[in-house]
């Protein structure tokens, strides 16, 4: 339980660090946003400055409308460019620091990222920091609840698959054995048909119908098969393989239950065993008392 608490604590720390990193990143985003606005603002003022110069054309009304439209569009354009640049950088760094498995970036990619990031080093640092915290949180999640079971079980799955395969093979061998008497009987029947139609088609006078003959012969053949060491070995192999797969399924469930701090079958079994032991002790005590006082009903 103490280990679970530690695990949860480490996740909580990772989560709070990630939140702080997210706050830093958000500040950077705001800065990028505002920088974009400021540059837009300066562009607007420049444009307004140009507009303040004497107009070459005599149509002041049309010129005024055009200038007004440009003033409206220019900040949007600059802001969009700044944001796009920032988002592109974010995406590049997000992928570079993603916790998901991937091929490592090539030397060219790294160089490219470095060169293109250098004008916004502060932002890049924030992104990297955020990525790092996200990474820590992601990999600490497996310590709590069901995530742990899936991570722990990953290694077990291969073993389980092998067990299922073994069960299928054992079952196949078993079923093949079970069909042998019928196959042999049909083969014998077809050979007899080829040699002389009447040998099998007509029942012997003292042996009942063909069906009765077949039943008796197959019964005899199955009795021999079931008594053979080969069958006993195959049957035990099937049962043991079935037990293996059953245990594997139980193990997977137990992993999940343990991760979620829910009592497992093992815990429940311990209680049951103790309960039955207690009942036996009480019964034995009552028996001894009854023997000591024969007339008394227990």
């Amino acid at each position: 339980m103490a280990q679970d608490d530690t695990s949860r604590q480490s996740v909580a720390v990772a989560l709070s660090e990630l939140l702080k990193a997210s706050a830093d990143l958000w500040t950077q985003f705001n800065h990028a946003w505002n920088t974009g606005n400021r540059s837009n603002a300066s562009a607007t003022s420049d444009h307004q400055g140009q507009a303040a110069q004497p107009a070459p054309e005599p149509d002041p009304e049309a010129e005024g409308d055009r200038a007004e439209a440009e003033v409206r569009q220019a900040p949007d354009k600059n802001r969009t460019e700044a944001q796009a640049q920032w988002i592109e950088m974010l995406m590049r760094h997000w992928w570079a620091g993603s916790p998901f498995p991937r091929d490592p970036p090539s030397a060219t990619e790294k160089e490219d990222v470095h060169q293109r990031s250098s004008p916004h080093q502060e932002t890049v640092d924030s992104i990297n920091h955020w990525q790092s915290e996200w990474h820590k949180l992601f990999w600490s999640m497996h310590r709590i609840y069901g995530f742990g079971a899936s991570a722990d079980a990953t290694g077990e799955l291969e073993k389980d698959a092998a067990k299922i395969k073994e069960y299928q093979e054992a079952l196949q061998a078993f079923l093949e054995l079970m069909t042998i008497p019928v196959k042999e009987k049909f083969q014998a029947f077809s050979q007899a048909q080829g040699a002389d139609v009447k040998t099998e088609a007509e029942p012997r006078p003292d042996s009942g119908t063909i069906y009765d003959q077949w039943m008796r012969e197959l019964e005899q053949r199955y009795a021999e098969l079931f008594a053979s060491p080969q069958f006993v070995e195959t049957l035990q192999r099937v049962i043991h393989a079935a037990v293996d797969t059953h245990e594997a399924r139980g193990g997977l469930v137990a992993n999940f239950l343990k991760a979620a701090s829910i009592p497992t079958r093992e815990d429940y079994d311990r209680l049951l065993r103790e309960f039955h032991e207690l009942k036996r002790t009480v019964r034995e005590f009552a028996r001894r008392r009854s023997n000591a006082e024969p007339g008394k009903q227990t």
Partner: protein, 368 residues
């Protein structure tokens, strides 16, 4: 005209095949009609009262209408196996072992072991014999105001009854065992061969209780042609007979009504009995109590079946030689493991034999 083939023979064969298919089709139709019209058949219709309950078990006291013989007052407690259900002894009206015993004036009690849940996986043979059985015997003794009662064990229940009689001989007046395995060192039965090399511990650890469906499959496999093929072929042959259909359905209902066996009980039974054969050697210990068959000094009637594929005669017949009493009798009936209770022929032998044997030995006993 097909080259190389006798056209007459071909026509004859085709005609015969079509004819057979027509007959089969009619039979299947009749079988479907019979099954649809059979309704819900009931098992165990002999009236009874439940006189004791503990955990999953209950004790049935049957209401008899038979005339009790003079001096015949000791009740008979029947212990059925933990495999399948005790309804076998009261399967159908007219062919009920319970009903026939009642008609002979015997006061019949029977333990219904019920269906073990997961909570009961740690119940041992000791819990059944020293716990439940002993409590039930005490209840009947006090109800009837007797110091001892008659005990009859069926199959595995017979083995449990032998253990009980060896541990509490003072509470058992007469002991009857029917198809009860006590000597497991025999290769005659397939079950003995199959369980011999089984890793019982792993099986029990994995499953807890041993599922009834698993046991059922194994029992059906012991005689696959008869139990999985011939039985259903016979059904299509005789499905026009409403009585046959109802009895067939009763038997099917009983066969597939299989409770699980508590894991620890199975573990001990398979290892100590089937694998080590401790009981007949007086080496078996349950809950710290050694079982000595020499303690069985009461009269013993040991009945088994010649064609039993589950418990072969060799597994049963040795018991009378090992017990301490002198009034012992072996009876071998010419039937199978289930047929001993349900076939018309054996029913006419089994219950009269038991009733007569008990009547001869039901001398007055001291009251409690």
């Amino acid at each position: 005209m097909i080259r190389g083939i006798d056209e007459d023979l071909l026509q004859q064969t085709m005609k015969s095949a079509l004819n057979s298919m027509g007959i089969l089709h009619k039979k299947m139709q009749a079988a479907c009609r019979a099954l649809a019209g059979a309704g819900n058949v009931q098992l165990a219709t002999t009236p009874y009262s439940v006189v004791y309950r503990e955990d999953r078990i209950q004790v049935k006291h049957y209401h008899g209408s038979g005339t009790r013989q003079p001096g015949q007052r000791t009740p008979l407690m029947i212990v059925y196996a933990l495999v399948n259900r005790e309804t076998m002894l009261d399967l159908q009206p007219g062919f009920s072992v319970v009903q026939k015993l009642l008609n002979k004036g015997i006061d019949v009690y029977m333990i219904d072991w019920g269906y073990p849940s997961y909570n009961e996986k740690y119940l041992t043979i000791g819990d059944h014999v020293l716990g439940y059985m002993n409590n039930v015997v005490d209840v009947i003794r006090h109800r009837c105001r007797l110091t001892c009662i008659n005990l009859m064990g069926i199959c595995m229940g017979g083995t449990l009854a032998v253990m009980y009689a060896a541990l509490h001989p003072q509470k058992v007046k007469n002991l009857i065992t029917t198809v009860a395995p006590t000597n497991f060192a025999t290769e005659a039965g397939l079950l003995h061969r199959w369980i011999g090399g089984l890793d019982v511990d792993r099986l029990v650890d994995a499953y807890g209780n041993i599922p009834g469906a698993m046991l059922n499959t194994i029992f059906l496999m012991l005689n696959p042609m008869r139990l999985m093929v011939d039985k259903y072929v016979t059904f299509t042959e005789q499905c026009a007979d409403q009585g046959f259909v109802e009895n067939f359905l009763r038997m099917e209902k009983w066969i597939f009504d299989s409770p699980a066996i508590p894991g620890e009980t199975f573990r001990q039974f398979a290892k100590d009995c089937y694998q080590r054969n401790l009981l007949i050697q007086n080496k078996m210990v349950i809950d710290g109590h050694p079982i000595n068959l020499a303690n069985i000094t009461m009269p013993l009637l040991n009945i088994y079946a010649r064609h039993d594929h589950l418990v072969p005669p060799a597994a049963c017949s040795m018991l009378p030689q090992k017990v301490g009493g002198r009034d012992v009798e072996n009876v071998c009936l010419d039937c199978g493991h289930i047929g001993i209770y349900v076939s018309r022929k054996s029913q006419n032998l089994l219950t009269p034999k038991i009733a007569a044997w008990l009547a001869q030995r039901d001398r007055p006993v001291s009251d409690l």
